[in-house]
């Protein structure tokens, strides 16, 4: 059996047809909707590379069934900026040198974006706790912390 899934992704209404009912939101985004920014690195919710906002909540898109996203508002890394201008957190990731291979980056950006929306002036402990579900194998995390601190500073 297949289903049709309609959702708003980065402000744009999108529909995927012939979706197998067990398919993940991540798979639909990457393979059906042409949005491969969210990455598949563990497929069981451990690494955070697929993190998106679903109805304003941070989720691992690999753990969300496509059907659960029916009618929902999704924000992926492709939707953080406004097309022309990078979002502050994207700018500071580049400026701080928080990006290396880039595979964890989309998930970290969404998590950090969400953190700063909820807490514009987070302590280091809060940042570390918030980002603890996003694994990175390249950077050693220090520059990612710098990027989040810098984004908080720029927003003040």
């Amino acid at each position: 059996m297949t289903i049709r899934v309609t959702m708003t992704v980065n402000g744009e209404p999108l529909t995927a047809d012939d979706v197998w009912e067990g398919e993940s939101l991540l798979h639909v985004l990457r393979e059906r909707l042409g949005l491969p920014g969210s990455k598949n690195a563990c497929e069981q919710g451990e690494c955070g590379s697929c993190t998106v906002l679903l109805g304003g909540e941070v989720v691992c898109a690999c753990l969300v069934g496509a059907g659960q996203a029916e009618g929902a508002d999704i924000v992926t890394v492709e939707g953080l900026g406004d097309g022309e201008q990078l979002a502050t957190i994207q700018q500071t990731f580049v400026a701080a040198g928080a990006v290396q291979c880039g595979f964890c980056t989309p998930g970290l950006l969404i998590t950090a974006f969400d953190l700063l929306n909820r807490d514009p002036d987070p302590s280091d402990a809060t940042i570390r706790e918030a980002l603890a579900g996003n694994l990175c194998r390249c950077t050693g995390y220090e520059k990612i912390l710098d990027a989040v601190r810098l984004a908080a500073e720029r927003a003040r």
Partner: protein, 700 residues
């Protein structure tokens, strides 16, 4: 030309592809939206560790809707023999390790392919397996050489006699577990045939060598095989050469006459992409009353598979670190029914220096010496084995300057005597080292009439910052601003080039880029102007690299750690790590700092978390995901700093730079283990340092 005197090398130019990566626009291997009508491949791993496939019942699977093909040893294309036995995918019915691919399903959708692969019934004739490495394993043998081409054993003087006569003696065995590279991007390939021409979008550390290897394997002219690797989500050695995913993808695309995607699942990776061998290392050090080494002996036992020989060069660093008249290193391999170990960040140096630098800490205590002073007393003037002079060696400066920044000076050497609330506190030091290799490469530089330049080289940027560093190197050789230079990489069509491996990428590619851009600049200057159709120069560096000899080229460093161990739970925290490196000229401080800190963090992860746990009954690594194979997370790292000396080395290469991708992971685990000993008086000689190894042994 718009000439500039401002040097780009040494500046912190931002990562060129940074904006593409933060917007999700950077396209990784399977994300090519211009390749249409793609099918999906899902591999079938063996469920036994040793035996033979008796029967594969693929008829019910072929009958499933949307299944396009089932690849098995019965119908897979015949491949040419390869040195790398792991590339002989589906070429026989023999199963050599659990997790080895025995079949694959191609289907219209990923989910169907996966479902079909899981349903495929494979019957085996099972044989008893042997997967456990032991110090006296009956199959232990001496390989002809260790990787890539070093002598297996070395010996000078009379080690046993010197050890027998030594005033101070250390004789201990250190063990490290299997470690898994786990780059964030699983290995992935998109294969597309157009008539007889093959294009592979592949996640690898060298598009040119992938092209050569796969062309040979499939009996194709390399000219019809095109490998593209624009963005690679990490590799750490595991993408150095093609893996089974690339082979299966090419086979599947040929069979279904459509492009196919094959992205490995994290679970597959623990068997088929390689890992660092576990090691059992006996170190013996003999020193006089003043701590001067008379003898160094390092005997390594490690594993290889029955598929092919892989002989990690674990004792290599011991051959060059310290002066001693009597010295010996040996390597022995057990051939087991396990996946083939392969390269992982600083193969050889990383596990070897954990053992050597732990033993040096133990010797310092034996001698009643500060561990930094012990190392300084044993500093060799030349490479102890070859007698070659160093092109540069800054270990002593790294130790001294690092100690100053870390605040080592007033350290109380007594172990297990400092606490802060419930936490025992200690500090440790260890040395780091990594060779400064270079390998011939080809670069093409082109000047356009509008004053812009394009440089092409089959380099790979696996997160290192290669694209950015090469842009800086090119700009300086052209004497223009980086704004006028575009460097294109990750394409086999750009010609022969070094891998992103052995920490030699920037040295090798940078050398070729420097040569091509210098020749281009001179040509443009002679010409006076750039004609409408541009000027192009190609350069190749075999002769220059062959002429490089007479010196030992090697980077050094020192790492300092603070460890805190909870007196009740045995939990280990490392609030502070500091590295000081002497690695020639730093091309880009911003990307370099990330490389050092990233390496040190992986070393911290090795010290405290990482361990591939072998299931002896089933013969596989049972903790084969990121839930159970722990890697350092954000909350594990607190205050971590990387610094470097202003080291000038005009001999190493035209940039004066040594590789920095691997040295950061070398020595970290020893620095942490030494700090844990200083905190607790408990010496852990078996990584990782987990609380169960400390509990019941803590003071108080």
């Amino acid at each position: 030309m718009t000439q500039t005197d401002v040097r780009a090398v040494g500046s912190g130019l931002g990562r060129i592809e940074g904006p593409a990566k933060v917007t999700g626009q950077a396209k990784y291997a399977t994300e090519q939206d211009d390749v249409q009508d793609v099918a999906y491949v899902w591999p079938v791993p063996a469920t036994i560790a040793k035996g033979t496939i008796r029967r594969i019942d693929d008829a019910p699977i072929r009958a499933m809707a949307q299944v396009l093909a089932v690849l098995t040893p019965d119908n897979a294309p015949h491949l040419q023999p390869a040195e790398d036995g792991e590339l002989a995918v589906l070429q026989s019915r023999t199963v050599s390790y659990r997790g080895q691919f025995v079949a694959a399903v191609v289907a219209q959708t990923l989910e169907i392919a996966r479902e079909a692969a899981e349903r495929l019934q494979v019957e085996y004739d099972v044989e008893p397996h042997d997967v456990e490495l032991t110090q006296d394993h009956p199959t232990l043998y001496k390989p002809d050489q260790v990787n890539p081409s070093f002598p297996t054993d070395t010996e000078q003087g009379d080690v046993d006699e010197a050890l027998g006569a030594a005033a101070n003696l250390v004789d201990h065995t250190y063990t490290t577990p299997a470690l898994h590279n786990n780059p964030m991007e699983p290995h992935a390939t998109l294969a597309s045939w157009d008539g007889d021409e093959l294009t592979l979008y592949d996640s690898n550390q060298g598009a040119y060598s992938a092209q050569q290897t796969l062309a040979k394997l499939f009996g194709l002219d390399p000219a019809v095989v095109h490998v593209v690797s624009q963005h690679v989500g990490g590799g750490f050695g595991s993408k150095g050469t093609p893996r089974a995913n690339a082979v299966l993808a090419v086979m599947a695309a040929r069979m279904v006459r459509r492009p196919v995607k094959l992205a490995l699942h994290r679970h597959h990776m623990f068997a088929v992409v390689g890992y660092r061998t576990p090691t059992i290392q006996r170190i013996r050090l003999g020193a006089d009353a003043e701590g001067r080494l008379s003898a160094i002996s390092h005997d390594v036992v490690e594993q290889t598979s029955t598929v092919m020989e892989f002989a990690e060069q674990t004792a290599l660093a011991t051959r060059i670190m310290y002066a001693a008249p009597h010295r010996r290193t040996t390597h022995r391999l057990a051939r087991l029914d396990i996946p083939t170990p392969r390269w992982m960040r600083a193969p050889g140096e990383c596990p070897g220096m954990y053992a050597l630098e732990s033993a040096m800490d133990e010797l310092a205590i034996e001698c009643g010496l500060d561990p930094i002073e012990l190392r300084i007393r044993n500093e060799p003037e030349r490479d102890p084995e070859s007698g070659k002079p160093w092109s540069s060696r800054s270990l002593v400066e790294c130790l001294r300057e690092g100690a100053q920044l870390f605040g080592w000076g007033d350290r109380d050497p007594r172990p297990g005597t400092r606490s802060d609330g419930d936490w025992l506190v200690g500090t440790g030091v260890a040395a780091s080292t990594y060779p400064a290799y270079a390998s011939p490469s080809t670069a093409t530089a082109r000047a356009a009439a509008d004053g812009r330049f394009v440089v092409r080289i089959a380099a790979a940027d696996i997160g290192t910052g290669a694209r950015t560093a090469l842009t800086q190197i090119a700009a300086d050789a052209l004497r223009v601003s980086t704004d006028f230079v575009r460097v294109e990489i990750g394409d086999s069509a750009f010609g022969q080039a070094s891998l992103a491996g052995g920490s030699m990428g920037t040295a090798s590619w940078g050398w070729a880029v420097t040569k091509a851009c210098t020749e281009l600049r001179e040509k443009v200057e002679r010409n006076g102007e750039v004609p409408v159709d541009g000027i192009e120069v190609q350069a190749e560096t075999s002769a220059e690299i062959e002429a490089r000899s007479g010196y030992k080229y090697q980077g050094f460093g020192a790492q300092f750690a603070e460890a805190r161990v909870n007196i009740d739970t045995g939990e280990v925290r490392v609030p502070r790590l500091l590295g000081m490196f002497g690695v020639g000229r730093i091309i880009n401080p911003r990307t370099a700092r990330s490389q050092f800190i990233g390496g040190m963090t992986m070393g911290l992860s090795m010290a405290l978390h990482e361990e591939g746990v072998l299931d002896l009954a089933f013969g596989d690594y049972v903790n084969h995901d990121l839930a159970e194979y722990h890697i350092a997370a954000c909350a594990d790292v607190t205050d971590i700093e990387a610094h470097w000396l202003d080291e000038h080395d005009e001999r190493v290469n035209p940039m004066g730079s040594k590789g920095i991708g691997e040295i950061g992971i070398v020595g970290t685990a020893a620095a942490v283990a030494n700090a844990v000993h200083h905190a607790t008086a408990v010496r852990i000689r078996d990584l990782p340092i987990r609380l169960d190894k400390l509990l019941g042994r803590l003071p108080g």
